[in-house]
Symmetry: C2
Subunit: 341 residues, 2 copies
């Protein structure tokens, strides 16, 4: 079984964006009161939205299941207040749930959290709980920078985040550390903010080792191959050593995992060389940041399965990356699949 742990519903019916546009337009009016979405989207529309996109690519590339969440750039936690974010997260999660219900063999859900800059992460607990208990989701996306490119929140190791982590541990769900759109004109979203978010989060984890002492079972996936981290693995091993921390493999790799959203063979070769196979989860982020065909290969840049297939690692390691690690990092995945079949 080949499990893609990182896919977003980037192709949702236009009614969703129309609701969001109305929300954003409303914010200009001081008397605006956010209202819950009441969208009229048919099952056929949902089928059509993924049929020619994510499902087609699963078939073409030979992958089986996508762990699926709302569009990351769309989360836009910097827009409006916590109520705006709450209603927006609810409808985004509800639509992902419908995709999962219509195609139970192909998708399992992960939720967007209703974060808002400066708002206590406790605020996210009800939606996390609803997503796991009612929608059957198996994880969440956690934005380390709800300000959208200005980095105004405390580091992920700060006790500020602990109430949310307590709930994650109780529910036995991991978080993918994933920023959203950038509203900072200096910082491009998919080309800089995403990758910087990954790098920044990993260095936060290095800087403060208390987090995983306090939450030994807490798990994070750092997407996009871990940002810059594997390329600079020597730098991070050296910084940890200068900071008198244990070896990274003992210090962080029970809790921190990397996905394979790295869009060329040399990048995947480096990733699989320096990061233990136990810590790598297959992912493509399709249909996502890079949509084109690589003129050097004739295949889509984001067809990452081809790079893993070609990597100089054992079949056992490939099975860990494609399948086993997903069950380990998402403890609810097995039951979620059993329930549907």
């Amino acid at each position: 079984m080949i499990i893609d742990c990182h896919g977003h519903y980037t192709t949702s019916p236009k009614e969703l964006q129309a609701y969001r546009d109305a929300q954003i337009a409303g914010l200009k009016d001081k008397s605006y009161k956010p209202a819950k979405a009441k969208l009229s989207i048919s099952d056929d529309q949902i089928r059509a939205s993924v049929e020619g996109a994510q499902l087609k690519q699963q078939r073409e590339r030979g992958t089986d299941l996508t762990i699926f969440s709302p569009r990351a750039a769309g989360m836009g936690h910097h827009i409006g207040d916590a109520t705006v974010s709450q209603y927006w997260s609810e409808i985004c999660n509800d639509l992902v749930k419908r995709v999962c219900d219509i195609f139970p063999e192909n998708f399992v859900g992960v939720c967007q959290l209703p974060q808002s800059p400066g708002v206590d992460p406790r605020n996210c607990i009800p939606e996390l709980e609803r997503s796991v208990k009612e929608l059957g989701f198996i994880g969440c996306n956690l934005n380390p920078d709800p300000s959208g490119g200005y980095w105004k929140e405390p580091p992920l190791t700060d006790r500020w985040w602990y109430p949310l982590y307590e709930k994650m541990v109780e529910l036995d769900v991991p978080a993918m550390v994933h920023v959203s759109n950038s509203c900072n004109p200096a910082v491009h979203y998919t080309g800089a903010h995403y990758i910087n978010g990954d790098t920044t989060a990993f260095m936060q984890f290095i800087s403060n080792g208390e987090l995983f002492k306090d939450f030994p079972t807490l798990k994070f996936i750092i997407p996009h191959g871990g940002g810059a981290v594997p390329f600079h693995w020597g730098r991070y091993r050296g910084l940890a050593q200068d900071l008198k921390k244990p070896l990274l493999k003992d210090y962080l790799l029970k809790n921190v995992f990397f996905d394979t959203c790295v869009y060329h063979q040399p990048g995947i070769d480096l990733l699989t060389k320096v990061i233990p196979a136990e810590n790598i989860l297959f992912a493509s982020e399709m249909v996502g940041a890079v949509k084109g065909i690589d003129p050097e290969t004739g295949f889509n840049f984001d067809d990452t399965k081809r790079y893993i297939d070609a990597a100089a690692i054992s079949a056992a390691d490939k099975k860990k990356i494609f399948e086993d690690n997903a069950f380990k990092v998402f403890p609810r995945l097995k039951a979620a699949l059993a329930k549907r079949r």
Copy 2:
């Protein structure tokens, strides 16, 4: 000849930091008027400050010349106003000049610019001009984020920066794009802000191709191996393609170069595989971000010469990386060396 294009005066005599500490302490007092530094530092002190550090490592590692600039984390452009930054930059550059004068075989200078958040980069022109014409420096370090981790300045492609670029082109000097310390508690300086700065700058260059049309001879070095860029080279090729830009090699690689401050063999192997040898400049950043010995090799993490020596590239390519490219990117280097011998 082996030229290290990226070294900072991280070991300067304590009098320098004492002046800076007094500057910073003064800022708490509203009536404070910044004053130029008048430091009493002897030539012997300067000799001692580099003898057991940068010079020792040059000898041990077999490198010849370091292109040398003030401590990057020390630039602290977010501290105080433009006058504070001016006086601080002057004294830092003056001290680097003294190192270069005492050890003309070993060091050539690159200047710190007196940037300050929100202040017109025109403000940096006199110090750049003084550094090149009076101090004999051959380049500058340009901070794309003088706010220190909050990214409040326009992107490097914005016309905001053009007056400085005009002067760089006139003087025929390149800039290394190098952030300084981070005052953002979420963003570690050497472990996140530095690498993010590199990644962000490169994506700025991708996003707006007008810059190098307007300044065809302008040259930037992106340090730390280009941040995350080579690891995600497929992503950047794909993003450029989605944005209808030319191939990166035609679009940016006449103007943008990467150094080799990547502190492990697999990172250097990837860098030399995906980035043309014409675009890579040898560098170690010693004595810098990572000071320890890699337990996996028994050598310093930042002894990057060993990784280039071991890389699977031709002798001709190694010569480009160690020597030829430095003369190409720093057009004033040749004359600077000739003058001293």
